[in-house]
Symmetry: D2
Subunit: 338 residues, 4 copies
């Protein structure tokens, strides 16, 4: 890190700060500039303690140099990670597609969706059994009954089941039915939950929190990796900005940015990322063109009757067309979808 | 809610939408404008289901009219709620002050802090025993040992202990030691945790998530209230914006805005809201002037050696001066601090 | 618009508001709900005056229904506008590419760039002669000398010259040399400048301000259209959000969103939109996949020596590869680049 | 600045970068860390050219150390600047209050406003004659007739006239009538306008752009100062964030943050900063408590009939009460309002 001293810091202050840095087990290099003195502190230390140096009166700011994450880093592992569950493959050259309804509502709704997305080329089936809802008065999911329906749909179609886990207490139940555990955006920094899925050993889709920085996102993945679970997919699903014409703002530049820094695969969720069904297919095509490792898309047999997220769900027909376009774009770039 | 039809919607489409609205148990009023038809749907319905009408092809947008929260609303309860724990009183004319270190680090560190903030006029003691940290490599708190130190500090000083709960599994442990349970900003939408503290019956400080809207914030409170726990304090601690010169952007207008809509008291946390110790005292004074019901401030005997949040912690002396100023501003407005 | 009355508004208040609405030349429909009364005000009025109704004590909020823009709207003109200058065609099925250096620095730098981008398939040449710079101490452009170099480059290559106008006083000078006038993001709401380019009659590239909403963006275009100039290209170049790993956050969903509402073509600037050269080619490909009508890309013979925006400029070789990829994606979707 | 090399940068790359830094006239210090090499470049250089080093392949990032502004800095001038026009004094211990209608609409409206705000203790009169409006169809101001009314109001009341200048071409006209020129938020980076008011020599109120960083804000002031005009007031009027319950988010922490860095006075505009009349008085009191050097408030004799900004305008009575409260808070802190 670089410690920038305030203007007018005396040699005694610089000397004192040098000792503080050395007390942290780091080596200090003092550089005297035209207006300010800076001290470069050299050593591998990522526990955040050093940032408290900013509280010293004589310090203007502290600039970290090392990335705060480690296991997630390309520098730790150069080749891309491929996350696998049944036929679903995400990363390492595979563009996996997970599709299905927001919530599991009934056997018929789920099976219709599952058959349709399978026919169109998806290899993963999404569907919420436990639903995190902004309002306590909204539909909260079918719970274990929903999980059973998901498992039955997998048995029929062979699609890998991807479903959200909301709290550590549910881990045994979820592990019984799901192939991939999803951490929702609201829980990206629910650290006990991250540790629980880390310990469970199932593949994990980790959604970016709507105001999480890239470092925070990668550090959340690091919590899972740190428990020995390396099957982690990063899912960009849009960030909260001043824009209100879309539900969230979906920054596709996250894909190449993350791929430069981490070996973990990057999934795009254009459904939550826009919140508007008519914007999902063009953004899915763009996600493929930008180089994503997978897509997660909400599909419902009758969106206008969905109990949640109807406005952003595709009908099976529109989804099939979307897949056709995405496949075309993928193969024009020498890649393979699904 | 108001359903705005697309331009060119035919009478048949309007008729069909009218029936859909009536199927939801609402009454429909059709208004034919110069360019568009809108349908006003009348009735008390807050479960979100109706928003899926936006997915209908013939609909341009759906505008909700009713606030989505109910029990938190001033319309449900006109008089302000006062949240109380030992001598700590927040709301209903009382400006309560909770102060102390970010993390409990040692007996000496905690007791020194507790005595100092008590002497300066605080009636609540903050201190984290379980710490949500962005990095898995950072100090995670003393856990139950920290809780014991907090309880001991309460026994000596009489300060009410306010400490964060991170996961539902900790509820029994926390209830044993704490007087007030805090839900951190990262967990504002951790619904199982909200329900757990709702059931526990202890007063709750609910921190606003860094990108939560006001409706989302009040709906999170509604989850707690809905379990029969009415002792909820709303804590504004800053939102994430493009500004980087402060850790977060602290919008004090939240105080009067919330007070117009809810009976729950509003606490300001200028420490997290700015992230910079020198900005805390002026923002605390401003919070009192804007009409807040309480303050939550980080104080550490030696900020530059803090294991977390050193850059935003006040020394005991600076905190005492801050309290003096806040008391002066409060009494100039006919209010009482502490 | 919909006027939502406060809870408890008396019949007399509703009556008074009804008259206020009628005084504005609108028809009022009163709808009495379970908790609130709303008044639908029918009529074509877009001058903003009605929003002052929100200042009435008895009014909770005012919800506009009509889009505030008119001439830019698809409802006014259904078929897409194609903006043309020499061989540059943007919109109406043509994906035009404008490329070149951020600033014109020298004859050699400009001609090298122009020849390279022409060879790779661009039909427009960008280059700033008058540079808006955040700091008064930064390079401000070669001014008229720069314009002369641009004109010379056009004479040699046939590329249409696209250059920024910063102030109405420069209009005569700019019109003399440029084929397309660019309004920079900082000037999106510089209304005298918008009117000046509206009067000048040259094609205009209007960049979105970094915190402009879609309505504000389209209303800025409306200022130009309102002077009778219909050759306006909307350029999305990224918005300012909490994200700092990229210079701006580039929301590609703007493309289909705008295309649904306006007949004006939409150009993407991945250079400013990311600020990082290595992210430009994937985002350009994604922009083509999402359906953009054109690209604007910074290219410099030697980015590390550029006097401005070096970090986001492509070398001629990387630009040529990017064009190859974009052409492939375009033709996979049945479109033609350049 | 600090140049952080990529991991794996070879000694030859470090050597080449060292020479590039020296070519810029800076001194280079190489520091070899455990994972990366950084090069500290020492010297006074603020022209932004060095940032193009980020475009070099072997560079990970460039961290600037020096503030980019100079004349605005406290390091250049330690004592606070007081900006003065007639009886209006802002800064250096004076809290000046500028009040009046958003737009000048008629002689009666303006004079009624002017007398009322004068009686309540304001010393500056605001009122727009040239109005920047988002829509070309909205009221654009009375233009020179409005300026004449403002001058007449000054002649009667002694209030200093503060009015907005929209374009350099108006400078002679504005200088004839106004005491203080205001640069609106939309024009904060309209550099030709900044230079024009810099040359005009009148005091300037410079409004922060809704997504301007602090450095950009201070650099905009620097454009004015750089022309020899030191009478510049910085006006914080709220930033654009994801929050929609208020028109903008008003970050009062800007006041102490700016006062630590610049000698220029800081004015708060709670009218635009909230957009809601009922939030203006508490935010004005908070602004005084946080230490602002002045207030700018919209007052209209009949807000519900205002041609612009009615929703955020105070009636004369509410303004008078607000002033009473602000005076009380100011004197409790040993300061004087007006």
């Amino acid at each position: 890190m670089i410690v920038v001293m305030k203007m007018g810091a005396t040699p005694a202050m610089v000397e004192r700060m040098t000792r503080r840095i050395e007390d942290l087990g780091l080596k200090a290099h003092v550089i005297i500039g035209t207006e300010r003195t800076v001290i470069a502190a050299v050593g591998d230390k990522r526990d955040g303690e050093q940032e408290t140096l900013e509280s010293c009166d004589e310090v203007d700011k502290v600039v970290p140099i090392l990335a705060p994450y480690k296991v997630a880093s390309r520098e730790t592992r150069a080749e891309p990670t491929c996350v696998t569950a049944l036929d679903l493959k995400i990363g390492g050259g595979h563009i996996g597609v997970i599709a299905g309804p927001c919530s599991v509502e009934s056997e018929e709704q789920l099976l219709t969706s599952a058959r349709a997305v399978k026919a169109a080329g998806a290899t993963g089936l999404r569907g919420g059994a436990f639903k995190p809802r902004t309002s306590p008065y909204a539909f909260q999911g079918l719970k274990e009954d929903g999980l059973k329906l998901l498992a039955a749909a997998r048995d029929e179609t062979g699609l890998a089941v991807v479903t959200e886990i909301m709290t550590p207490g549910h881990i045994d139940l979820l592990v019984k039915y799901a192939d991939v555990l999803q951490i929702g955006a609201r829980n990206m920094q629910n650290y006990h939950l991250l540790q629980a899925v880390g310990d469970a050993g199932k593949p994990v889709v980790l959604k970016r929190g709507p105001s999480a920085t890239m470092d925070e996102f990668l550090l959340a993945a690091e919590y899972i990796l740190d428990r020995g679970n390396s099957q982690v997919v990063l899912c960009e699903r849009g960030v909260r900005t001043f824009e209100t014409h879309t539900r969230f703002t979906l920054p596709l530049a996250s894909v190449p940015y993350l791929q430069q820094r981490t070996h973990l695969p990057v999934l795009i969720d254009p459904s939550h990322g826009t919140g508007i069904a008519s914007l999902v297919p063009p953004m899915a095509a763009a996600a493929v063109a930008v180089g994503c490792d997978g897509l997660m898309v909400e599909v419902h047999p009758e969106p206008s009757k969905a109990l949640s997220d109807g406005a952003q769900s595709l009908t099976p027909n529109v989804f099939a067309e979307m897949m056709e376009t995405c496949r075309t774009v993928a193969s024009s770039l020498g890649k393979h979808l699904g």
